[in-house]
Amino acid sequence: MNERDDIIATQGITIHMGPQHPSTHGVLHLVLDLQGEKIVRAEPDIGYLHRGTEKIAENLLYHQFVPYTDRLDYMCAMSNNLAYVQAVEKLLGIEITERAKHIRVIAAELSRIAGHLMAIGAWALDLGAMSILLYAVREREIVLDIFEMLCGARMTLSYLRVGGVRYDFTDGCKEACEKMLEILPGRISEYERILLGNRVWVDRNRGVGVISAEEAINLGLSGPALRASGVKWDIRKDEPYLIYDRFDFDVPVGTNGDCFDRYVIRIEEIKQSMRIIRQALRDLPEGPFNVDMPELVPPPKPDVYNNMENLIHHFKYVSHGFKVPKGEVYSSIEAPKGELGVYIVSDGSEKPYRLKLRVPSFHNLQTVRHMSKGMYLADVVAIISSLDPVFGECDK
């Protein structure tokens, strides 16, 4: 395979890439065994950003943990919020309102767009096409502006709550979304013109980091990277949650399983997300955006101070939280990076007995070893970028 292995015999060396390397997406530390410029073995060394999120959850009330999920995949915090509150709701066995479902779909897809834009921007930057980063971040800003209007934060959103959402989706937000849907398609075709016309960028991705469908499944790859290998697996389609089964959208699938396919899938997914948002905005019903259960969602403020019963609910919720029935539950969503699952064991109290996060970045990262075997050192950068790991999430 390696064309001149027999002629040139160099001494193998081991180098450390990261954790403070500009193109390792944060704090990834790779130990690379090299033979010349070829990779013999690539070993990711993780844990530099470990904060013990799962353990923290055991000491917090169920509703208090939501802000911590923002800090997992901070590029698309809404998806993490969704995965967590959905798991708690499943354990509680409650059904949220129609309006809340629509709002959640819109919010989750917005965060998918924001996440993919950042992924593509950072990826292009790593491979030397810096202007794309500036353009992608500019478009991401539009999405973050919508988030700011919606929930008062740009990255650490904490927007979803058990039982619904924290603030209503106003008409202003709706207009901003429509504006975004107008602007984005043109901008994305600009990226495509720049990147697909850039021979260096295309050559550094095409045929690089190939992983077969079978291998990808065995290693637990998920998300756009799995679909690039030709496996049509999207939780939104295959195990629909919220109301994804009502919307008309396609799941893009690649053929080669290389970095270039992973790029194409991400671009296509942004377009599909826009389709979903458009439909959800069209169907957005009026009505309450929280469940009518005062023990889960305390009554609105003006009612609290004048009504004894509401005041009691309010105090109870704030100081003791709510009890969750005994049992265990696993619930997963299709986050921008792959399958994000939350597993909760409840002992019937107000705090989780154990919480386990199945984070896509962690599982995806283990494929680096297989993808980079026999590749050049410079290809490793493309491979990491194409997997788009985020270390807030990977290291938990």
Partner: protein
């Protein structure tokens, strides 16, 4: 190998030499070069005024008669996931607060704060709110803990201003530090 194109092709070579591939991309980049800049000139000339729901620096409210709304019920510190609010209650019937119970100490440690807004949601009297102040950078750890006295000052931005705009601003240097002074009368939408 690796599916990369191999072999000799004159046309390909010419393309490579004169960078025809880049021309398309460059035309976009050059187009932006001559179009109007969208860069925010913060803090010298412009400042972003956040939307109304913005969760920034905390502040404590007073009622219309100037009495403190906080009744030192400690719900905010209970609700806080990081336990960064400290409330010490005391009796005071001199009319400082709306009730006989007022806060002797009310402080928040901004380094621990997640800006989640749960304290604001928890407060039954709407005493604590997260305001639209976001310039919290400082050089000493001591000023990251904000106390009641500092938090009771009225907000520079009135509640009814919608926000989401850029306003003209001026960077002021004083011996105490630097400050950005916004001029709320001249605002514009962010160009996208």
């Amino acid at each position: 190998m690796n599916g990369r194109t191999k072999g000799f092709n004159l046309l390909e070579l010419i393309k490579k030499v004169v960078f025809t591939d880049f021309v398309k991309g460059l035309s976009i980049t050059l187009g932006y070069n001559v179009s109007r800049s969208i860069t925010q000139r913060y803090p010298d000339e412009e400042k972003w005024i956040p939307y109304r729901r913005w969760r920034g620096l905390h502040y404590l409210n007073r009622d219309a008669e100037g009495r403190e709304l906080c009744v030192a019920c400690e719900l905010c510190s209970k609700a806080c996931p990081t336990q960064c609010i400290t409330v010490v209650p005391m009796e005071d019937d001199s009319g400082r607060g709306i009730a006989d119970r007022v806060a002797k100490v009310w402080k928040v440690d901004l380094v621990r704060c997640l800006y989640c807004g749960y304290c604001e949601d928890a407060c039954p009297t709407r005493a604590v709110r997260l305001g639209r102040e976001y310039e919290t950078a400082c050089t000493d750890l001591a000023s990251t803990v904000r106390r009641r006295e500092e938090l009771l000052v009225p907000q520079a931005l009135a509640e009814n201003i919608e926000g989401g705009v850029l306003v003209k601003s001026r960077l002021v240097r004083t011996p105490e530090g630097i400050k950005v002074e916004p001029d709320l009368r001249r605002h514009k939408k962010r160009s996208l």
